[in-house]
Symmetry: C2
Subunit: 599 residues, 2 copies
C-alpha cells in the first residue's frame, strides 16, 4: 500500500504526463489536472470494475485511464485508432458508462446501482459530476430520484467554481456559498459547543435542537439542499488532499443511504498557465508546454465569423439577443457579450431552457439567437417543436460544429441536426459553406424569414478551395453546370461542397449546391428532373435528411433517371481527423469521384 | 370591485360550470377545480394581456379562459373548431404562451419578462407551475436562471401534493415538509419571539442571528431552497382563500426581485368524487355528474393490454423493470407496480432521466421497459442516441399514444416518434396493430432483439375491424394479396391498416402491412419492386418516416413504377376526433380509396 508521500509523488508524475500528452495530442487539460488526486483516491478506496465509476461529460477521465491499464497507450489519446478522450465501455471494462454530453451521470449511476441492488451485487457506483454539469436539468432529475435510491450510490460533486465558461445561475452562487463557509462538520460541531458553553439555557436550546421535532434542528442540521433531497452530505473537502479524500470515501462507503461528497478542486492544478486561465485550457489543440500557447478562441473560424457577424447585426438592431449554453467562447459569442452584456444570456449547460427562454424573448418582441453545437441541440428536439414551432416564435438557432467533428468522436458528431429539424413544422434551415455565406444566411434568418430559423456551419475554418464562391451572388441554391447538359447532377450543401465540386469537374457532372435546405421551392425538383442521373452527397445522417426527402419527391414526380445517395448510414462514427473520416465514408474528393462514376 | 363574498360566489359558479362542461366534453377536471380561486385572484390583481400569465402544462386554464372573454364558448372546449383544452396564443391574446408539455413555464415566462424589461414595458409575467412539473429538470434549469432575472417575474408554485400520478422524488418530500410546517412567516416570527423571551442569552443569540455574518441566520432565515436560488419566497398560502391570495400577489408586485409564491391547493376541490380520487379525474372522457363514472384506466385499451402483457413477462423474468414518467395509469403500468413494486420506478415528469436511468439498469444486466407517450418521448432524443445507442444498451421503449390523439390537439399528437427513432443508430421499432401483435412485439423486443428497441401503439382500443388479424401468424410483415398480381401495392403499418385494408380491397390493391418498421430486410424492397405502383400510407410525419426511407431506396434500386406517399406533411394538427382528423388528412377509408385510384 503506497504511503501518502508516494501517492502525492504519483499525482505529480501523472500530472507531468498529462501535460505532455495533451500538449501533443490536444484534449481537455484543465479538467484533467483538477481531478488527479480524486482519481487516485477513488482507485485506492474502490475496485473497478466491481465498483463502477461514472464520469459526467467524461473529458476528465485521462487519469482514470492511466490507472486502469491504459498508461502505455495514453499517448494515443484522441488519435485515430487510439484511446478515446472520453470513457468508452468497449475500450475497457473499467469505463462503466459512455459519456460526452453533460448532466447524465447521476441517472446512469442510479441505474447501475439499482441493477446491482436487484442482482444482489454489493459493489458501489460512484458518479463524478462537476458544478458545470449541475446547471443542466437532467442532473436535477437524477438527484430528485437518487435521493431515495436504495443501492450503494455515491455522488461526488467536483466543484471547481466554473464550468466550461464561468458557471452561471443561482445554483453556482449557492454552491459557492457552501463551499466558502467553514467546513460543514466543523460548523455543526461548533454550534453544539457554543450552545453547550452558553450559561443557563444553552444546554436546553441544544437539547431542543436535537429533539426530532425541533424546527430549528431542521434548519441548522439540514442546511444543504442535498440533505433536504435525502442525501448524506459530506463536505466541502479539499479535492487535492488525497488523505482527506480517502477518508471521506471510506466514510461514504459505510453509510447505507445515498451520499453526496462535495469536493473543491482547482481546474488546471499544477500547470501554472492553466491555473491562471483554465478556460483557455478547457479543450485545446496541441500546444507548446513552455510557451503555453493553446488555440485561442478568437482565431479565424466559422464560430468567430458568426460571433462577429452577430455583433455587426446587433449594432443596427437593439432587439437582437445572444444566448449560449455555457459555450460563450466555443460559439464565438464572447464578442457579443463584450459589446452587449445586457442582451447576452449564458444559461449554463441548459439547452432545453435556452430554447424555450428564447421563444419567450421572441414572443415578447425581441430577436433571439441561440448559438449551440449541433450535438447538443439534440437535447432540444421537443422544445423546438412544442415551445417554438407551435408557438409560432421567430428565433434563430446558430448551429455550430455541424457535420463531422474529428477527434471528439462518436458522442460529438454533428450529424443529426438536419434530419431532426426537417421534421419540425415551419422550420427553415440554411447551410452556408463560407464565412460570407454565413453572414448572408444570418441576415436571412433574422430578417428574411418567419418562424423558427436555423443556420448550420462546420467546426473550424473555411475551406481555402471555396474562395471562388465569394465572387458569386448569395442565392438559396446555385447551379454549377457540368460539361454535358442533362447529364449527371450532384446535389450537396455545406462544407462538403469543397470535396464534391472538384470530383464533379473530373467526371463532367453539374453540381447543385443548396444554401437553403428547407423549405425548398418546386424549382429544385424540376431542375433535378432535367438530368438523366441525380447524385446526392450529404455530410449528415441519411434518415430524414435532404437526400431522402428529395429522392422520394423525385420518385413521386415520376422521374425516370437514376438516383444515388451518399450520406451517413450509420451514426456511430469514431474519432479521426475530419479528412480521414471523410475518406472512410467515401466523401472525400476521390471517394465522391468514384461514386459519380456509377451509372 | 367585487367583495370577498361575491368573489367566492363567482368561484362556486365557475366550479359548477367546469363540472358541467367537463362531464360533457371530457377534459382535465381535478386540476381545473384546484385553481379556481387562484385564477380569480390573478385576474383581480393583474391585467392581461399587459401582464402575462404562463400556465405550465396548461390543462388547468379553463377558468382563465372563462374569465377572459371565452365564457360563452367554454362548452365548445376540446371539440373540433372549439376552444382548446390548453392555452393557445392564436385563440386569445390573454393566452401568453402555448402549453401542453410540462416544466416549460419558468423558461418561457423568464423570456417574456426579459423582453418586457428590454423594451421598457412594466408589465408582469406570472408563471403558474404545479409540484408535478417541478419534477422535470427543465423547471430547475428555469429556476436556476430566473433567480437572477431582472424583469418583473413571479412564479407561483401550485402545490397540490400530487402530479398526475402521485408526486415522486425527494423534491416532493421537501415541498411536503415546507408545506405542512407552520407558515414560514409565522415560523420566523416565533423563533425571534422565543429567543427574545429567553432569559439572559436569548437576546444576544437573536442579535447574533440577525447579524449578516451569522451562519445561524443563513440557516434559519434562508431555509428554503428557493431563497437560496435568489427568489423572495412567500408561503405557504392557502390556495383556496381569495383574500390571502390577493394579499400575496399584491405583496409580490411590490418586490423588485423575482418572487416565488408557494400555494397549497386541493385537486378536485368542490366536487367530492374528484377530491376523493383526483387521479381518476385528471384527464377524463365525458361522465355522469351524479354517478361520477369517468373512464377508469384499466378498461380495455392498448395501454392496459401492454400493462398486462408486461406483467405476464415479468412473472417469468425477474430482470424486467418497469419505468414511467408520472404516467403510471396512463401507460397501464399500474398492474406492474401492484405486482412488482420493487422493480417499478416512477421517476416523475423526467423523461430524460428515465431513459438514461433505464440505460444504466440495462448496462447493469436488467431488462428495463420505459412506457411513455409518443409526444413526451420527444424530450429524450439526445438521451436515446447518446446514452442508449452509443452505450449499446438493450432496453425497451413502450410508446403509447403513437399516432393521432384526438381532442388534446397540436401539443399531444404522437406523430414524430418513427422519424425521430429511425435516425438513431441500431434502433429497432415495432408497430403492432392489435393487442395480440402488441404482446408479440413486446416479447420480440425483450428477447428477440439487441440494443435499443421500441414498440409503438395508438391511444385507445383495438379496432374491431382487425379481429381477422388474430388468425394470422405474427410476422415482421405480412402481404395481403390484391386481385391482380404485380398491380398496386400499399405499404402501411399500425392502426391505420384498418382504414387501408378495406380501401385496398375496393380497388383490388395488395397491402404489405409492416409490424417491424426497422431495420428492414432487403426482401421488403424486392417485394415492392414486383408491383407496378407502390403507395405508402403513414400515420406520422413524412419527413424521416418509413415512406420516405423506402421510396428513396426504391428510387436508388432503379424501380421504374409509380410511387405515391400519403403521410403527415404538416405536423400542426388541431383538436378533433381521430376519425375526423383522419378524414381531413385523407387517411380514412374513403380518402385512401381515392388516393389509391391515382395511377
Amino acid at each position: 500500500m503506497l504511503s501518502t508521500a508516494e501517492l502525492n509523488a504519483l499525482a505529480e508524475e501523472i500530472r507531468e504526463r498529462l501535460i505532455e500528452v495533451v500538449s501533443q495530442n490536444g484534449g481537455h487539460l484543465a479538467s484533467n489536472l483538477g481531478v488527479v488526486e480524486l482519481t487516485i483516491a477513488l482507485h485506492r478506496i474502490f475496485t473497478t470494475p466491481k465498483d463502477a465509476i461514472v464520469w459526467d461529460v467524461g473529458h476528465q477521465s485521462y487519469t482514470h485511464k492511466m490507472l486502469t491499464g491504459r498508461r502505455d497507450r495514453i499517448d494515443t489519446i484522441r488519435t485515430e485508432g487510439g484511446l478515446s478522450g472520453f470513457p468508452k465501455p468497449y475500450e475497457s471494462e473499467h469505463d462503466a458508462f459512455v459519456a460526452g454530453h453533460a448532466s447524465t451521470s447521476i441517472s446512469a449511476a442510479m441505474g447501475l446501482a439499482e441493477a446491482k441492488r436487484q442482482r444482489g451485487d454489493d459493489g458501489y457506483v460512484i458518479a463524478v459530476i462537476g458544478d458545470g454539469a449541475f446547471t443542466g436539468g437532467m442532473a436535477y432529475e437524477g438527484l430528485n430520484n437518487a435521493g431515495k435510491a436504495r443501492g450503494n450510490l455515491i455522488i461526488i460533486l467536483n466543484d471547481n467554481d466554473m464550468s466550461i465558461s464561468k458557471s452561471v445561475g443561482s445554483v453556482a452562487n449557492y454552491l459557492s456559498e457552501i463551499r466558502t463557509k467553514p467546513a460543514y462538520f466543523r460548523f455543526k460541531d461548533s454550534v453544539s459547543h457554543l450552545l453547550e458553553r452558553t450559561p443557563m439555557v444553552g444546554r436546553q436550546i441544544k437539547d431542543a435542537l436535537v429533539s426530532s421535532k425541533s424546527k430549528l434542528k431542521t434548519a441548522i442540521y439540514h442546511n444543504t439542499f442535498f440533505e433536504d433531497l435525502g442525501f448524506d452530505y459530506l463536505g466541502p473537502i479539499d479535492g487535492h488532499d488525497i488523505d482527506m479524500l480517502c477518508g471521506a470515501l471510506m466514510r461514504a462507503k459505510r453509510i447505507s443511504r445515498p451520499v453526496l461528497i462535495h469536493i473543491a478542486t482547482q481546474k488546471g492544478k499544477g500547470y501554472q498557465k492553466a491555473e491562471e486561465n483554465p478556460g483557455a485550457y478547457h479543450g485545446v489543440s496541441s500546444f507548446d508546454i513552455e510557451k503555453g500557447n493553446p488555440d485561442i478562441s478568437n482565431e479565424d473560424s466559422f464560430s468567430t465569423a458568426f460571433g462577429r457577424a452577430l455583433v455587426g447585426q446587433a449594432i443596427k438592431d437593439p432587439s437582437i439577443c445572444g444566448i449560449t449554453a455555457a459555450m460563450k467562447y466555443g460559439t464565438g459569442l464572447q464578442f457579443f457579450k463584450h459589446k452587449y452584456p445586457n442582451r447576452f444570456y449564458d444559461v449554463g449547460i441548459a439547452e432545453e431552457h435556452a430554447v424555450t427562454f428564447a421563444s419567450g424573448l421572441a414572443t415578447g418582441g425581441l430577436r433571439p439567437v441561440f448559438a449551440v453545437y449541433s450535438t447538443f441541440l439534440q437535447r432540444c428536439y421537443d422544445q423546438i417543436i412544442h415551445d417554438v414551432a407551435l408557438q409560432h416564435a421567430h428565433l434563430v438557432l446558430a448551429i455550430d460544429r455541424a457535420g463531422l467533428v474529428g477527434q471528439d468522436g462518436e458522442t460529438h458528431q454533428g450529424i443529426y441536426d438536419v434530419s431532426m429539424l426537417q421534421s419540425v413544422p415551419t422550420m427553415t434551415l440554411y447551410s452556408p459553406a463560407t464565412y460570407r455565406e454565413l453572414r448572408h444566411c444570418l441576415n436571412a434568418c433574422l430578417y428574411g424569414e418567419e418562424g423558427p430559423c436555423a443556420l448550420r456551419y462546420p467546426r473550424g475554418k473555411e475551406d481555402g478551395r471555396l474562395a471562388f464562391l465569394d465572387d458569386l451572388p448569395c442565392e438559396d441554391h446555385h447551379l454549377f453546370p457540368g460539361k454535358k447538359k442533362g447529364g449527371k447532377v450532384v446535389l450537396t450543401y455545406g462544407r462538403i461542397f469543397a470535396e464534391v465540386y472538384p470530383a464533379a469537374q473530373k467526371v463532367g457532372a453539374s453540381v447543385l449546391k443548396l444554401t437553403k435546405l428547407f423549405p425548398l421551392g418546386e424549382d429544385v425538383c424540376e431542375l433535378l428532373c432535367s438530368y438523366k442521373a441525380v447524385y446526392f452527397v450529404e455530410e449528415g445522417i441519411r434518415s430524414g435528411g435532404v437526400s431522402e426527402r428529395l429522392a422520394s419527391q423525385l420518385a413521386e414526380s415520376g422521374y425516370r433517371g437514376r438516383i444515388h445517395i451518399r450520406a451517413i448510414e450509420d451514426g456511430v462514427i469514431p474519432q479521426a481527423s475530419v479528412e480521414s473520416t471523410l475518406a472512410h465514408l467515401g466523401m472525400d474528393e476521390a471517394g465522391i469521384a468514384r461514386f459519380l462514376e456509377q451509372e
